[in-house]
Symmetry: C2
């Protein structure tokens, strides 16, 4: 197979009308107290304010808009730990398509309820995302439907639109930290940032309890790794070739943080911004705190990618970190 | 003193450019699971997504825009339990004015830190809002500054702009439930709703542990009442004449809910919308649950007025309602 072309800024700019037809830009807010904490000027990109509570909705809408008539008729099949499934469900409803979403056993119940609330058919199968994904691919094959992979190009183009909003709202941004699950967000962000101003540093960040994407990026080859993070949005066990090749080209560094630090970052975001972050959404703050010296004095954007934390998890985290 | 003229839809429409110069419209999202819970179609107006985490920022900006040159030079003085103070601090920064804000002892520390982060001078004085307010008025008098009362007309005009956004996003809205503290939000909302479509029902809602505004509205005269609610955004002990007269003209009903029910509504909003609501912001959902039969089958908007709940309070609420 010949090398696929790299997605470009043009792809992301072209996705924008498909996204803005349904979504308004999310806020980018400066927080004085977080800035003090980090010794930098800190803004948060509030993708948790999206209708499904996560950035992925941008990708789903762009993907649905890019389907052929035949693909629209057979409907969409995908697998998800939650937010990607909500994105596809949201897009399917917007475009009046059928959507079938395979989720792993034990998936975040709030996310599952939201998918069903949007009219999608949800099927539980497998112990983790990667098992669910195989199942969804088989279903799509058997029924002649369109399988949506988590790093399909139209998804990367769609989610990249939040980075356009960041650069327009804060042209002087110097560093952007993005959580990495399958990598669509960080790819979209780095394509936009590096194409517009190569001096902007883009950092990926992930849990040390699920480092497959980070290890693959460092090694320059696809490596699986143990997956034990509580943060389902970044719970990747098997790396994705498509996003790895983009990350290798564009990413400045890829940071790991412990789940413990992610939990603390959830509480700091609650305290300082009054926003609920899910694990993935809090990873950038955790990474920034761990690498303060690299950000000192800079204009830093933390991408709060999603807010869909379950109340049970929140209760556990508050109880565990009771001195905070 | 002759009767003051009633604020009109025209006043609120005229405030809009002053508000939209700095703020984008907040989302109005439909929630399938809340709809099921209430037996109605339920939308939430996310004023907690504002830069200060509360609707009041709209009023502060409109007020600052309406000042004379002399008033700009002497700076602003006000009293607040938190969100109004943040609004004045935000507007003062936007217009490069001095702001002095008197807060009662024990004020929400996150709100105080945010006011200071915005550059305002914060002074602690008095046991509750009404004591702090007297002090702030005296300070303004002594120093020749402009005192901003919590129900000044430009504030009502400014906050009313969220109701314009509701009606544009959901022309078929049938009922809107608004928390009542000093009453600026409910007045702005009812002026807009009744002027555009008198059949839209507008309900005020307040804690039964601080019912001064509700009792005054029912009695048709200004009555103080005990104030023991945890929800500082609606902790009014002394009613406001200016908003009472507007509410008497426009409001369909004024509902009371216990603090206990407000706490449960905070948890329901976390669970179903993944948004943190402060006490005031959760009052509409608590009131809707208590009066389900009046809303059955209708298109209902709950105004989530603000999200500035302290993490300590959230921890207490989660511990107290541990079966939820």
């Amino acid at each position: 197979m010949p090398d696929q072309a790299m997605p470009t800024l043009h792809d992301i700019v072209s996705a924008r009308p498909h996204v803005s037809r349904f979504l308004t830009p999310t806020p980018l807010y400066h927080y004085a107290t977080l800035s003090e904490l980090l010794g930098a000027q800190v803004w948060v990109k509030h993708e948790n304010h999206q209708p499904i509570g996560a950035f992925k909705v941008r990708g789903g809408l762009n993907l649905a808009a890019s389907l052929s008539l035949a693909e629209r008729q057979t409907g969409l099949f995908t697998a998800s730990t939650g937010n990607h499934g909500q994105s596809i469900a949201f897009a399917a409803r917007a475009f009046d398509l059928d959507a079938t979403i395979v989720v792993p056993q034990g998936a975040n119940p709030g996310k599952v309820a939201a998918m069903r609330g949007l009219g999608a058919q949800v099927i539980f199968h497998g112990s983790d995302f990667d098992v669910a994904r195989e199942w969804a691919m088989n279903m799509a094959g058997e029924r002649g439907g369109h399988f949506v992979g988590p790093t399909d190009e139209p998804l990367i183009h769609g989610v990249g639109t939040y980075a356009l909003e960041i650069l327009e709202a804060l042209p002087d941004v110097q560093a952007i930290i993005v959580p990495v699950g399958a990598g669509s967000g960080v790819c979209g962000t780095s394509i936009v940032a590096k194409s517009i101003n190569p001096r902007i540093e883009v950092f990926g960040a992930q849990s040390a309890q699920a480092p497959a994407m980070q290890r693959s990026w460092q090694a320059g080859e696809l490596l699986t790794a143990p997956m034990n993070t509580f943060a389902e949005g970044i719970a990747t066990r098997v790396p994705f070739a498509n996003t790895q090749r983009i990350m290798r080209r564009y990413l400045d560094d890829f940071l790991l943080v412990n789940d413990e630090a992610i939990e603390e970052a959830i509480l700091l975001l609650l305290q300082h911004t009054h926003n609920l972050a899910e694990g993935a959404g809090a990873v950038p703050l955790a990474a920034a705190l761990k690498h303060k010296e690299r950000l000192a004095g800079k204009n830093v954007v933390l991408v709060l990618s999603g807010g869909n934390l379950s109340i049970e998890r929140l209760r556990q985290i508050l109880a565990k970190h009771s001195s905070k």
